[in-house]
């Protein structure tokens, strides 16, 4: 284990420093760069830099013509290293590396100076400042490219299996798509059943499909698919590894019922004396302490809610549970999986409107939220599909929906973004109520109706023309409760510029969606990022909307941002495709930014060993030096920075390269 220069390092020699001939290409990027910088001055400046053989400008170097120009200069033997001054390397570094590679140059003889995101776009009016920064950024990358070494990418095998976290409509669709292509799928769900929020919905807009009628067949498909392993009532505890080779620790929560023995006969439920709130019905209805969340649950086995169970032993008696499936002292257990890719589809939480005191949610009985109305409208819900006022159990004569509750609200604790589903679900619920009670008055108080999807605008139009739903533009100021528990709504009709005061029997707050309260834990565990609104962050908002910044991890559904069911399903298919591409190929190229120990310099102090978060560094006892496994090294460079003997180098970010950047940009030449 002494070879600290692994075979993956190229045998091709780096050109000696005097042989370095750099082609510097400054991109106008249309007017993004060219409109701010004095390009002629930039070219003159570029020509003065050490080892720059030629310096050119072009309107778009990422275009075919731009790439062809670089390719020609390489093929003509004019240059052997390339610096492109353009956008962020996070955008086009792979593009230009391909140009080098396909023209016989090592792709790592390339550096990109970011003069758009980091210069012209942040100094759009200070042209002089932008010019100064752009020159320095070019100086830095020319310095770096002089010192770069040829490298070979590492090829990593990708295991043909996927972990999907969250089995809502997104996770299920991704699972089916991958399983049908022959990949093994582990579908993790923390609730006892798969299905997610969609199982709680009654009908879906704008087609008025029954939500469970389209969802539950999918759930059955998932459970029957031999390539899908459902792990319900389980949570991911820990994720290690990297693209192609993730190692995942799963916690399987105790059901207190042997899932293999339970025949789902349901006899135990009748025997259970404990009645507690049904969380599937948002605590509006009852359930027993031994339960399945809803009749079509998958898997269909029962679970004991141990917080409410009094362990009376009724269900465990052999006359009730013939297979003897009840295990009161069952404990959580753990398992470990190895997967090649991960899809995160953890969904959303509904915004809690309790702190919006002016609406009185939680204080006034007849103020409910959108999902509660959804359960009320559902034939499997607490009122068997007949919405009533909680105060008297009678159907309301008038109902008002309040839009943008918790979304499009800049106050602390709420969200500036649009939740995208509330307009449509409010219209749908109002229409459903009108279908059942044509005589009832239905009002929707809105800021503006966002009916953006296919068939949505028509649905909205029809709701007022054909169903007589009344739209009032204005955000309500306050809700008051009358002595008879009806509600007085006060606000302004902003079309008429008149104050309004309307009495209604029931108010539905069209609450938006927000990131899961524990989304940060998930992000930390997986090493993925969140945007400022708490949803998971995509690698690029336009071009890589389903990739996380961590290779091999994809996302789908509302976990990435608010969206409706069709968009969620589309994303699920996209995420499945992203994962399948990696797995079908079977291997992936990883940037070789790993660290290397120079054994002749290593003093064997071992201070690097404990610093490595991946246990990639071992101590070679026979030679008394440290050794870094290039496959296990993720290339952070922490060991490099802390080696007291300067005996570790990081590929592509060596001390020499970084120091040259610093000294060159500060005017000194090495």
């Amino acid at each position: 284990m002494t070879e600290s220069n692994p075979k993956t390092i190229s045998k091709s020699k780096s050109p000696k420093e005097e042989d370095v001939r750099i082609g510097l290409y400054i991109c106008n990027c249309g007017i993004n760069i060219g409109g701010v910088l004095e390009m002629d001055d930039m070219i003159e400046f570029g020509k003065t830099l050490p080892n720059v053989t030629l310096c050119k400008k072009y309107k778009f170097y990422c275009s075919d013509n731009g790439q062809a120009e670089i390719a020609k200069d390489i093929k003509d033997g004019l240059i052997n290293r390339v610096v492109v001054a353009a956008c962020s390397p996070r955008m086009h570094e792979p593009t230009f590396r391909r140009v080098l590679k396909s023209n016989g140059l090592n792709p790592f003889y390339f550096a990109q100076a970011n003069i758009r995101e980091h210069a012209t776009w942040v100094n759009m009016y200070d042209h002089e400042g932008a010019q100064r920064i752009a020159k320095d950024h070019i100086r830095m990358q020319v310095a770096k490219v002089r010192k770069l070494k040829a490298l070979e990418t590492i090829k990593v095998k990708v295991k043909p299996s996927t972990l999907i976290i969250g089995a809502g409509i997104a996770g299920m669709n991704s699972a089916l798509d991958l399983a049908d292509q022959g990949f093994k799928v582990y579908l993790i769900e923390r609730e006892p059943t798969i299905g997610g929020h969609m199982a709680q919905l009654d009908k879906t807009f704008p087609t008025m499909d029954c939500s469970s009628c389209i969802l539950t067949p999918k759930m059955v498909d998932v459970s029957r698919n031999p390539n899908i392993h459902i792990m319900a009532y389980s949570e991911v505890e820990k994720v290690d590894g990297y693209i192609g080779n993730f190692e995942v620790k799963i916690k399987h929560k105790a059901h207190y019922i042997d899932q293999l023995k339970c025949t789902a006969c349901g006899a135990c439920v009748d025997s259970c004396p404990v009645i507690c709130a049904n969380d599937f019905d948002l605590n509006m209805g009852p359930r027993k302490a031994i339960y399945i969340p809803f009749p079509q649950a998958v898997p269909g086995q029962y679970t004991i809610d141990i917080d409410h169970c009094i362990k009376c032993g009724n269900c465990a008696s052999p006359s009730i549970c013939e297979p003897g499936a009840i295990i009161y002292d069952e404990e959580d257990h753990y398992s470990t999986l190895k997967v090649g890719t991960i899809i995160v589809s953890t969904g959303f939480d509904q915004i809690d409107p309790t702190n919006l005191k002016n609406y009185g949610y939680g204080k006034y009985e007849n103020v409910i939220n959108g999902l509660e109305m959804e359960r009320n409208l559902s034939s499997t819900g607490p009122n068997l599909g007949k919405p009533v006022c909680p105060s008297n159990g009678k159907p309301p004569h008038s109902v008002a929906w309040l839009q943008c509750v918790g979304s499009r609200d800049n106050r602390e604790g709420y969200h500036p973004y649009c939740s995208r589903v509330c307009c449509m679900y409010a219209i749908k619920q109002a229409r459903q109520y009108k279908e059942k009670h044509p005589e009832a008055e239905c009002y929707i108080f809105y800021m503006d109706i966002r009916a953006f999807g296919k068939g949505y605008e028509e649905f909205y139009e029809s709701s007022s023309h054909d169903f007589g739903i009344k739209y009032m533009r204005g955000r309500l100021a306050e809700i008051y409760e009358n002595p008879d528990k009806t509600l007085l709504l006060r606000g302004e009709d902003t079309f008429l510029s008149q104050p309004i005061a309307i009495n209604v029997d029931l108010v539905v707050l069209s609450t938006g969606v927000e990131a899961r309260t524990d989304a940060t834990n998930v992000a930390t565990m997986l090493g993925i990022q969140q945007t400022s609104d708490g949803f998971f962050m995509e690698a690029h908002p336009k071009l890589r909307p389903l990739d996380s910044l961590t290779a091999g991890i994809f996302m789908a559904g509302v976990a990435q941002g608010p969206k409706d069911i069709p968009d969620t399903v589309s994303q699920a298919k996209g995420a499945a495709s992203g994962a399948a591409i990696l797995m079908a190929k079977g291997e992936v190229e990883v940037d070789p930014y790993y660290a290397v120990v120079y054994p002749n310099l290593c003093s064997g102090c071992r201070s690097c060993i404990n610093l490595c978060p991946y246990s990639a560094i071992t101590f070679d006892e026979s030679h008394k030096v440290a050794y870094i496994n290039p496959i296990m090294c993720h290339g952070c460079g922490t060991c490099v920075a802390s080696c007291p003997s300067n005996a570790i180098e990081q590929n592509h970010f060596s001390g020499d390269q970084l120091m040259t950047i610093i000294t060159d940009v500060l005017g000194g030449l090495y």
């Binding site: 995101e117 980091h118 759009m124 100064r132 930390t524 930014y593 952070c636 920075a641 610093i662």
Partner: protein, 146 residues
């Protein structure tokens, strides 16, 4: 030996070497650009994969050669792409500042900030504030006048 307080006019443009980690702050700086958040033209951004890669000699060398300030950008604690590289940077910082003092520079010239990939706005604010602070500190005595 330490920097003498200078009461120079503040009309110079501080040179800031910004060392940003690839996953959080560099991406955040890209986001600031994409969102066209305008900031003073003082940051020269050098990319490293992780803030854990930042060596004290980078900072000393930059100051010795006249940089007015060094801004290290790292992920938030708990968000590190490499598990905990940023913890190590945090732990290394007091030592770095000690070196900076021994070399005769004001340790306020070195800053570590945790800026995530979505915090372009924070980066913009921090840059403005740092530029202001460096202007009040005056030029790096070693500066050959940038």
């Amino acid at each position: 030996m330490s920097e003498k307080s200078v009461d120079k006019p503040n009309n110079f443009e501080p040179f800031i070497l910004a060392i940003f980690c690839n996953w959080c702050t560099y991406t955040g700086a890209d986001q600031a650009g994409t969102s066209r958040m305008q900031r003073p033209a003082n940051l020269r951004i050098m990319r490293v994969m992780c803030s854990g890669r930042v060596e004290s000699r980078f900072i000393i060398e930059a100051l010795k050669r006249g940089a007015d300030g060094v801004l290290i950008g790292a992920c938030h604690i708990g968000d590190c792409h490499y598990v905990n590289g940023n913890h190590k940077t945090v732990r290394r910082l007091p030592l770095i500042k000690e070196f900076v003092k021994q070399f005769g520079f004001n340790p306020k010239r070195v800053r570590l900030e945790h800026i995530s990939a979505s915090e372009g706005a924070e980066l913009t604010e921090i840059s403005k504030e740092f530029v202001k602070e460096l202007k009040s500190l005056g030029k790096n005595p070693r500066s050959s006048n940038k």
